[in-house]
């Protein structure tokens, strides 16, 4: 898609962005008298009124602890919370709602995998493969596993354009010792979408299961775990316009069934005696303690909201924004964009000659623009490109094309300022 760089302010889009913006009260805020231009949604998205209201309404009219309450408030709150599980199952096209495990965030989902699958199913001598563009949350749990249990950690390299090196990836699997591939579905730094179906085919051909880190991908594209044919998929609520405090791990029923529990406590047991306890069925086996009830209710509202807009429109909007951003930012002298993958999504990381990324972020902030700067929790990836930090603009359903124009103009001013 080719987008004119001098796009008019109210260019018709597939998405009615103006209407969507009405749903996000925070977007009316000003920062030091300047309109808020929020381009840090990949770190955490803003919340639509539907989410805010769902949580408020629960707390005002229908709240109690869930499961085994035996009273109206508890039964109805359980219904509302469990409806979030149905919403996630539908979102991912899971076969079975019991395959949806609620966690605290995707970091927690990945650690659950590293513990229950890594320590409970994988055996010393086996290996886990990640890629060279993972978020720390998909690196450190496997490092801890490696150091604790002698499970090798292999890193599939990426190319200079920021794509997975497929030959190298396949070579890493050749010895048949890889038990699990845990890989990002979309890089939070480069924007690269990994070729999920191919990864699964190759991994399965070599006897490895596949877990995707969908923290970024699920925000912009329809994810169908049955079509992908993957084994596990994880995402985090707060990036999908939902509240903090809730994450998701989806896994095939038979794999989850075979995994030992991770955390112990209330909710996850079937029976407890001092000598011996037995575990509840999945997903409860993995959900110890009072669950994120309000967060589940909020997440369901977020998913309903996203589904009502529809992933076709969302994905097209993302593509249009990123094309626009690449052409506008790419045209500024001294701006270097990190990552040139063919298939890429709504984040742009960039550096500016003679200006440190932190200074860039702060100076954009003075102009009302929120971008992130730093290593984006992906230090090894930064070092792969010889960098310590970049600035990163990231987009959401409420991002307007003219916000990108404003970013480009403001960035040009920063460049002038530092000249």
């Amino acid at each position: 898609m080719n987008v004119d760089a001098r796009i008019p302010l109210d260019r018709p889009a597939l998405l009615d962005v103006a209407r969507i913006r009405e749903d996000f009260p925070i977007l009316r805020q000003t920062i030091r008298g300047k309109k808020l231009v929020f381009l840090d949604s990949a770190a955490s998205a803003q919340k639509p009124r539907a989410v805010i209201e769902a949580m408020r309404e629960a707390m005002e009219t229908q709240y109690a602890n869930v499961h085994r309450g035996l009273h109206w408030m508890s039964e109805r709150t359980t219904d509302a919370y469990e409806a979030a599980r149905d919403a996630v199952a539908a979102l991912l096209n899971a076969r079975d709602r019991h395959e949806v495990v609620f966690t605290r965030n995707i970091t927690d989902s990945l650690n659950l995998m590293a513990h229950s699958y890594g320590r409970g199913v994988l055996r010393p001598g086996q290996a886990v493969v990640i890629s060279g563009m993972e978020h720390h949350s998909n690196i450190v749990p496997w490092q801890l596993l490696r150091d604790d249990r002698g499970i090798e950690l292999r890193v599939a390299p990426i190319t200079d354009s920021g794509e997975l090196d497929m030959d190298a990836f396949e070579a890493l699997l050749a010895d048949g010792r890889v038990g699990l591939v845990s890989m990002t579905h979309m890089s939070n730094v480069l924007g690269t979408y990994t070729p999920a179906e191919r990864i699964v085919r190759i991994a399965h051909a070599h006897g490895a299961k596949v877990l995707f880190d969908g923290a970024q991908a699920v925000v912009h594209r329809r994810v169908d775990v049955q079509a992908l044919d993957c084994d596990f998929y994880a995402f985090t609520g707060h990036k999908l316009y939902g509240p903090t405090g809730i994450g998701v791990l989806w896994g095939r029923r038979e794999l989850l069934d075979a995994m030992p529990p991770f955390l112990g406590g209330g909710e996850m047991i079937s029976s407890v005696s001092y000598e011996h306890s037995t575990w509840a069925e999945v997903p409860h086996k993995f959900e110890a303690g009072t669950p994120p009830i309000l967060e589940g209710i909020g997440l369901k509202a977020a998913i309903d909201y996203v589904q009502a807009i529809g992933y076709d429109a969302i994905a097209a909007h993302e593509t249009s924004l990123i094309d626009h951003a690449l052409s506008r930012l790419g045209a500024i002298e001294g701006v270097h964009i990190l990552g040139r993958a063919q298939d890429r999504g709504g984040v742009v990381s960039f550096s500016l000659d003679r200006a440190h990324a932190h200074d860039v972020a702060t100076l954009l902030d003075r102009q009302g623009i929120a971008v992130r700067a730093g290593h984006h929790c992906a230090e090894p990836l930064m070092h792969r490109f010889g960098l310590d930090s970049t600035a990163r603009a990231s987009f959401a359903i409420y991002t307007k094309h003219d916000e990108i124009d404003y970013l480009a103009d403001s960035l040009a001013r920063v460049r002038e300022f530092f000249k």
Binding site: H67, R68, G69, L70, E75, T78, S270
Partner: protein
């Protein structure tokens, strides 16, 4: 008891209280062809079911021993009353229909042939308002079906 208890009766109808208090089939069969246990560790409900078949394969007799709430005991007893004389296939169908009724309060897709026995079980439909208690109503059925299927243990979903 007069209508001072009206507000309590829509779930705990007289028939439930009665079968809960004085179950007719709460006994171990002396001779039986199949048996199974059911267990709901969440509430501590426990049940054991025995089945005796007639020569034609229908259920000639069934009995149970249960520990649990009024709903679970009454449900076990109403079940026994309802399945005696039925074929295995009928009983399976009835189980599915009853399960749906307990979950949703109705059974719109139910076979007309099940209308009569379902009506007898209808007093239990009120549990659908209490999803955590649906298990109390279905535990006996899970155990019965496990016995019919030759299994040994059942736990409600």
């Amino acid at each position: 008891m007069t209508d001072t208890f009206d507000d309590l009766r829509d779930l705990y109808q007289e028939v439930i209280l009665d079968h809960g208090r004085r179950p007719r089939h709460a006994r171990r069969l002396e001779s039986f062809d199949a048996t199974a246990k059911g267990d709901n560790p969440m509430c501590g409900d426990r049940i054991e079911v025995w089945v005796k078949y007639a020569p034609d394969g229908t259920i000639a007799d069934t009995g149970f021993q249960a520990r649990g709430c009024a709903i679970s005991v009454a449900s076990a007893d109403l079940m026994a009353e309802t399945v005696i004389g039925r074929s295995k296939a009928d009983t399976h169908a009835l189980f599915e229909a009853f399960r749906e009724m307990a979950r949703t309060g109705k059974c719109p897709h139910c076979d007309a042939a099940l209308a009569e026995p379902l009506e007898r079980l209808e007093p239990l439909a009120g549990v659908h308002e209490y999803p955590s208690r649906v298990k109390c109503a279905t535990l006996a059925w899970h155990a019965l079906v496990a016995a019919l299927d030759g299994g040994k243990e059942a736990s409600s979903e």
